[in-house]
Each structure stands twice: as C-alpha cells, then as structure tokens.
Amino acid sequence: MGKLYDRLMKDYRLREGLNACINCGTCTAICPAAEFYRYDPRRIVDIVQHQDDAQIEELLKSDTIWYCGECLSCVTRCPRKNAAGLIIMALRSLSIQTGFFMESEKGRQMYLLCKDLNHNILNYGYCIYARAFKYDAHLEAGVVWQWVEKNIDEVFDRLGGNLDKEGPGAMRKIPQKDLDELKKIYDITGATEMLENVKNAGLKKAEELGLTEEEYCQKIYTECSPKHFNH
C-alpha cells in the first residue's frame, strides 16, 4: 500500500465512494464525460483500488481526472455502492495538494476557477454573481444576456430582484459581517491556504512561459488540445 493511497484514504469521499469494484461498467455506460472525452470512470476506480502508487501518481498528473462533470449519475447505478464521482473528487483534491495538477492542461485550469469563483464568494457571498457574468466571456449566454447585462439594474428591479441592495432578496448585497465570517471559515478550514498555493503555482507557471497574468488566464481559459477527444 503506497503513501498516495494512504493519503487518499484519509478523504471521507474516498472512504464513502470506494468499495470493491467489479468492473461492470454501469458507471461508464451513462457517464456524460465518458462519451465526450477520452475517459472511463470504471478504469479510474480500478486503478485506485489496486493501490499502486505509481499508477495513482500518473493519474494525479494526468488530464484524465479533470474530465468528470461531477453530475454523480454514476452513483445511482453502481451495484457495489461505489461512487466514481466522489473518488474523482478525492483524486482532484490530492492532485492539488501535491502540486501534480500543474502537470496537465485541464489541471492548470484550477488557477482561473479558484480565482473567479472564490472572488465571487468572498466579495459578494455568491458562487455566481450576475454582475460579474459577462457576455463577452459567455457568448453562449445569448444576445438576450447582452441585453440583460446592459440593463442589469433595471432588469433586476423589474423581475423582483434586489441587486446589490440592502435586505433580503435575489442578488442582494450580503452584509460585510457575513462575508467576514465566510473569510474566517476559509482561513480555518484550509481553503485560504489552498487558494494561495494554486495561485502561486499558476503565477510561477505564467512567469516560466513569459506571460502576464492576464495572458496566462486567457491561455488557460481558451486552450483545448485535441488529445482530450475520441477521434
């Protein structure tokens, strides 16, 4: 039994998600990622249950573990009560802790995800903050969103929202005291430290590549190598 496997087993999600896998493939059969990426959750579970650290390390450095969409559809189907999705989540956490996430294209996306989502949480109290959701970065949000963005305060008023205002309601301004509590939670549960590590690893990489932070963000936001796909 290897050290990486031991660290994985400390994760509650792995303890809950890994019983003995019989390689039946019910997870892969309906997995959204297995259809649209080069990905087979069954094989991931099998690799982890073999407890071979060399193979686990390879996984932690690979793009493979970042393909899952965490829909957890696999959980319903497994006849052995495994949860491939939870195992993936544990692998991702370990990949971040060990720094291995920086070795794959999909893993390096962590920089931007950590930055944007947690900026929203710590500054506004939301994962998604309507005002920060920009049409330019989200053309698929449609021309109707372009209109919403342009008239966002009017639209929220019209639709019973309370955008950035006091008191309860949709997209209200969450009091600073509550945001401070979120920050304290981040500090004592390891989120602040994790975000700092992800940030430093990304900035170091940007420097290596001779890119500004903005250029680096643009790169990881848009790049998509054909190797992820099936044909």
């Binding site: 297995a34 259809e35 649209f36 990426y37 080069r38 053309l139 698929e140 848009t222 998509c224 796909f229 099936n230 044909h231």
Partner: protein
C-alpha cells in the same frame, strides 16, 4: 456565424445499430472460427508486435464486432505473422489465417 470559441465533442459511444454486419458475416463465412473468440487475451499477451505497437487480435476481433473496422485493421497493421498467437489460442483459432482474411476483406 458566431464563433463561440468551442465546438461539439465527438462521441465515443459505439452504436451497435450501425455496425456493418454484412462484412462481418462474409468474414465469418470464410473464417468461422472468428466467432469462437472468448476475449481471453492470450493472443495479445504473447504478441511480439504488441510489446511495441498497439497490436492485438483480441481487440481487432472486438472492433469488427462493434463495427469499427478501421480500428481493427490498424490493430493488425504491425503484425509480423509470426504465429505465436495461433499457438496460444485456447479456442484453437487459426489467428494467423484470420489476420490475413481480415486484411483481405477489410484492408484498403
């Protein structure tokens, strides 16, 4: 047309409804033993080329059954016809002969 910056991903799903059965039946007429494969992997395990290239009789037969004949031909491209797989096949399939027939029917 708008360039959204991403596009559809190809599906990996094998659609058995679309597997070309006719060609496979003509192979089976010539090589009835192709039906006897039980996917044990003895051929792949003993394959000389398989140690260096993605070569496998087992996978080639499976690809043909799944209607993926291009994959099947590719999986046999590096075969040197050494015949080790024929020696080890527990179902007595003349794999060497089978490989030649597959190349004949599916090869370009």
């Amino acid at each position: 047309m708008i360039d959204f910056g991403f596009s559809f991903s190809p599906s990996s799903r094998i659609n058995l409804d679309k597997a070309d059965k006719e060609k496979f039946l003509s192979l089976a007429a010539l090589e009835p033993d192709v039906l006897k494969c039980m996917a044990c992997g003895s051929c792949s395990a003993s394959c000389t080329a398989g140690a260096f290239e993605d070569t496998s009789v087992r996978k080639a037969i499976l690809s043909l059954q799944n209607g993926l004949s291009d994959d099947a031909v590719k999986l046999l491209n590096h075969c040197m016809l050494c015949g080790k797989c024929t020696m080890v096949c527990p179902r007595g399939i003349n794999t060497r002969h089978l490989i030649l027939s597959i190349q004949k029917i599916y090869g370009k």
